[in-house]
Symmetry: C2
Subunit: 105 residues, 2 copies
DNA sequence: ACGAATCGTAAGCAATGACTTACGGTAAGT
DNA sequence: ACTTACCGTAAGTCATTGCTTACGATTCGT
């Protein structure tokens, strides 16, 4: 639910592939696992991690379960990176100023 | 150098603490490790990972080495999340439309 | 009602990674 | 010159985690 879980969930390459497959829309587990070099249960475990991190939503549809990307989960990590970005730029500008003051050509 | 390295570098909690300590400006290794529950060599190893991922820059200053956040590295991951965010929103809207069409109250 | 399909979970195993201690190398202080 | 301070690297250990196989539960088709 927090951005920490989100980023650690996205750290795994296989899970990023899963996310990529869901970019165009919701898919069932079988469709996600199809063509992947790992077993279907392994995909299920990854889907579990992604869901727990708030990156995916599940909607049971009869026999199958459709997974879809949850925009809210992505946004949480996005906001963290924005604050990091702002601080990094400010620190960078400050350091450049310090250097210009201490070493005026 | 790619966003994959960036995200896997940020996945570790200790490395995020290091990043947080550098938000206000560059620091030497000793200053970063000070007060941390792990040894200084462990911090050095984390700094190495963060540098390789393009998240930190190093500037040797006499006896010490100053580490600072590299805005470019943060931006790379930010852009990835932006595209993911866009696709997620589009897929979400499309799914909502499908549902409205298939199930008109 | 019965068999097939879809999916989650449990247990066990191998690989990755984070930490410690020990060491070497360079710069600063006296 | 010699000692001290600062830092990176190497080797080894232990926990984490991603994978497979096996199994059980629910739903669809006939």
């Amino acid at each position: 639910m927090s951005y920490e879980d989100t980023i650690s969930a996205l750290a795994d390459p296989t899970r990023r592939v899963i996310i990529d497959r869901l970019r165009s829309g919701p898919l069932a587990v079988g469709a996600i696992a199809d063509g992947m070099p790992i077993s279907r249960p392994a995909v299920s475990q990854h889907l579990r991690v992604l869901s727990d991190a708030g990156l995916l939503t599940v909607t049971p549809s009869g026999n199958r379960r459709l997974y879809a990307i949850a925009p809210d989960g992505v946004d949480e990590l996005r906001r963290y990176l924005d604050t990091l970005w702002d601080d990094a730029l400010a620190a960078f500008a400050r350091a450049a100023e310090e250097k210009a003051k201490g070493n005026p050509t």
